[in-house]
Symmetry: C2
Subunit: 322 residues, 2 copies
Amino acid sequence: MGEIRLYEREEIERVIRLDTHVIHEIETAFSDLTTRNVTMPPIMRIDVPEHNGEVDIKSAYIEGKDSFAIKLSSGFFNNPDLGLPSANGMMILLSSITGEPKTIFADNGLLTDLRTAAAGAVAARALSRENSRTVGIIGTGSQARYQLEALVNVRSIEVVYVYGRSAEKSSTYQRDIENRLGLKVEIKNSIEEVVRSSDIVITTTPSTEPIIKSEWLHEGLHITAMGSDAEHKQELEAAVLEQADLFVCDVKEQSLRLGELRSCTNQEIRDSALELGEITSWKKNGRANNQQITVCDLTGTGVQDTAIARYVNQLMEKIGGR
Amino acid sequence: MGEIRLYEREEIERVIRLDTHVIHEIETAFSDLTTRNVTMPPIMRIDVPEHNGEVDIKSAYIEGKDSFAIKLSSGFFNNPDLGLPSANGMMILLSSITGEPKTIFADNGLLTDLRTAAAGAVAARALSRENSRTVGIIGTGSQARYQLEALVNVRSIEVVYVYGRSAEKSSTYQRDIENRLGLKVEIKNSIEEVVRSSDIVITTTPSTEPIIKSEWLHEGLHITAMGSDAEHKQELEAAVLEQADLFVCDVKEQSLRLGELRSCTNQEIRDSALELGEITSWKKNGRANNQQITVCDLTGTGVQDTAIARYVNQLMEKIGGR
């Protein structure tokens, strides 16, 4: 067995950017889900009730790829009391040929954040109007930032509307984005205002109740809902899915269990739901015209983890590791 | 997050010995299974059929312990054609308080070998006659060596009888053990001869058919069967379990699914089977006298992984890391 390389978050941050390369890798991963044999076992979960914690383990092997990732991600919800972030994680890249562990990314969740944001850009490229100029962001956390950073690679955004429950965090978000991306950011007082003003809406909340109402939808709108990834979460009214001309998700089985399809009992919508990979692989059509309303639900998949771990490993090899 | 330490196999080999300390840790782990709350989720398995490979992920959290292990172990059965061992693996030790990964043991299966051998010694200490002097080993692989190395910590062994299908490997085994442990090793021509001559018998084979017959059993014998750990493996005739005065396993549910209890349809035996931790924690009695026949089936458990990872981590901290 060759020596295993271990990279800490700071080293990974130095080489990876939320650019078109990463987005392309994630797009290909979605296509792979549709066009290749993929082994994606159910998530393994270790509960540590004593400390209000849990560890999830995800993995996906994509046929024909010479390596695949196993990801540990943890949430320990007493950590903030200790001055630590709740979330933690690492990815391990193994050879698909020999099973040998090759590289460990002690990324502390960074690669998950990036692959999630990249998936948002893939959805926007496949589904939003090409002439989208305004984006509405619901939430002011790290994904509210990463999603925007990814989106500007695929759409010429001019104005950002943001809504957050905390006025202070909204102001910080405004300042950060204006400084970092040079975009005009306008804080709105309601989610309704954001949705009514935007060509693209991205919801990034841990909400357990619908925050987007179907009556706010308008011609040409695209919504990406990336918040819901658990049985108790929901961001969209079921009627939003019904009113959309096209409803797309990353993995149908996951959206039914953990995502927005869970609350939608309309069997017609459930049956007609597409997977993002069907569109990126050209098996199905995305948006047909500038009038359609499109919705995409992202719950997060193991193929994205494998794709980004393989990609960052290539970057590391290119710069000669350490 | 503090920096993660990564130890390669050679570094681990330098600090850990198959001594009474390790055996005590593993004994305590079995007791914990009985006396503490333990979270031990089902094994996660990723198949890589294209390369005749699989990766298993195991974990166990023991209530009250400040860290726990997640173990990856892989078997890629085309590796020998590439001049590589089939098996590979690593353990990750995480904080139970914060979920942070602390230490990675790129041990390549070493710690699994040691904790498996230590479990054999725990079984022998709990079940074999205290005055056992002879041990019969079936198989000549690495566990055939480690099991003996662990056993001599708990019983005053004078003679080793060994049976292996390959005469050459049996000779190598004889030479290795005589040099390494200073024990007299006698090669036997049949498993029957080994069993009939030995106070303790340890089976270490990947056999898929019974290799030990009940008619060979004799007064005072103890057998530890550690080979079977999958649905298709078996080392003991079902009648061996019926003839034993005491049948013990590491985890009953696993022995029923993957171990020797699987082939035993006698409901009385299934019901009366004890778990090793019940004996090590003094909840149930082990051997009652020098006449009883005792049998122990070991399939391997996540608590052993957590125990040995925690122990080697302490050793590393004691010597000041690297």
